[in-house]
Point group: C2
Chain length 281, copies 2
């Protein structure tokens, strides 16, 4: 067989999934194992980095009070490393093309003529609700899903303000801190205040936390969290569903509701996992 003339250097824009290393795709795990350089951001669960044993690993995201690299700086590091023949993994929480600026990075790589690929990941915006027992679609209940962000209230209002309430599930990333204002936008747009709503935080991690309520209760500021874990808002009739395995998860959740606070991360995993997990990492 002829030797490939293709240079070895390349960039893989890899989706890390919601956090649990078992929800990484097989291609993502393979790329991490082969990587020379891994650039990761704040939404990536650091358990994943142990796979990239032979790589240099750099945190390039934003963290409270710390100066982050600019997008141009990240792009330049990727381009230069690939041009020097290195296998670069740009590891992004969830899926690289669902928020998170993966598209801009792909454009920069394309413009520089650097070989790259996108490795789709399990997107947190869909998997987070699923792991909380909420199917974002359900026959006769929700036939569509609108996925958006909540950091810009006026953009949110423009996106959802004209959407007819009912039949559509709304999943909002980066909106937890503004949940009261966003719930107000929905009420003003005609969504009934008793529409079910949920907060799903740290999905797939041992600290996964689920709050269930309504738009009205969100507007009153309920559904709070300790710390600044990534959290999703889910709004629509499906948010009232709780399709988790009986009876184990139910016990754990009832206790959370009673305490009204986030469960400690030391809670035994057996209380949350209905199925034994072994031999998969």
């Amino acid at each position: 067989m002829p030797v490939s003339p293709r240079p070895r250097g390349r960039v893989s824009l890899v989706g890390a999934g919601p956090g649990d290393p078992a929800l990484l795709t097989r291609r993502a795990a393979s790329r991490l194992r082969a990587a020379d350089l891994v650039l990761f951001d704040a939404l990536v669960d650091e358990r994943l980095l142990t796979l990239a044993a032979r790589a240099q690993r750099f945190f390039v995201g934003k963290r409270a009070g710390r100066h982050a690299l600019t997008q141009d700086e990240i792009n330049n590091i990727m381009i230069r490393a690939a041009q020097r023949g290195r296998r670069v993994v740009r590891l992004k929480g969830g899926d690289p093309f669902v928020f998170g600026r993966g598209g801009e990075e792909a454009q920069a790589l394309q413009a520089a003529g650097v070989p790259f690929e996108v490795v789709p990941g399990v997107s947190s915006v869909l998997a987070g609700p699923a792991l909380a027992g909420i199917p974002v679609t359900q026959r006769g209940v929700a036939g569509a899903v609108l996925v958006t962000t909540g950091h810009d209230e006026s953009a949110f209002a423009a996106q959802v303000g004209q959407l007819s309430p009912g039949g559509v599930t709304l999943v909002v990333a980066m909106g937890h801190a503004r949940r009261a204002a966003l719930a107000g936008v929905l009420r003003a747009a005609g969504w009934p205040t008793d529409t079910p709503a949920a907060v799903v935080a740290s999905a797939s991690s041992p600290r996964q936390y689920v709050w269930r309520g309504t738009i009205e209760r969100l507007e009153q500021g309920e559904g709070g969290l300790d710390g600044d874990s990534p959290a999703l808002l889910v709004v629509g009739q499906v948010a009232a569903l709780d399709l988790t395995s009986a009876p184990i998860n139910r016990v754990a959740r009832r206790r959370d509701d009673r305490r009204g606070i986030r469960p400690r991360s030391t809670e035994p995993d057996a209380l949350r996992s209905p199925v034994v997990r072994r031999g998969e990492r």
Copy 2:
């Protein structure tokens, strides 16, 4: 260590991802390897089933001209097998809770008291566009995504009719055959007829096919496919993007455009994959 009193029988509702076995999650692969029984449907790529070497494998989906099992029959098979101590994998294309009735199956399992879990998968509705070089979100272009189906034109009209055009990417599953009518709904709702649109078929398989055009060209019936491969419609400014690695994919796509037909599946994989894929299966 005490022996667990938990019965071994259980059901895993597993997302199969878009098709390529490398895009299966590690948990999904683990569940397939351990399965006694696998029930799969038409959207599942049969390459995945080779992982379930020790399982009985049954096709339970719909196929042209063939009677399918009813949802109740599928539920009953899963429940009875789990109650007999079998490890059941219900393998669904993409993600089990994004269309595909996974929520109904979870409800039936929950009602029967059968231990179950959901293993989220890489959803085809987001990964399909990504593999075609289309980021469903992009800063300054699209800040939200509406995911829906196109098999019911009036439901589609209700969902998108009030959505303001611009800023939102529309991904439509099960709508390819009705693409002209759906494009007409969008035009009637005020979407500019030159809004970019794409058809993405068999994403992640060797037969992956991408057509790019506009709402107007979709309404004229362009973007057709041979056969009945699963295909997505993507509508919005991002559908004009082509963030695939230069120059290899570009050559392959240009040839497709010229021929105006679907590429043969015998086309060498090297023409479509910018990056060597090995050691990941």
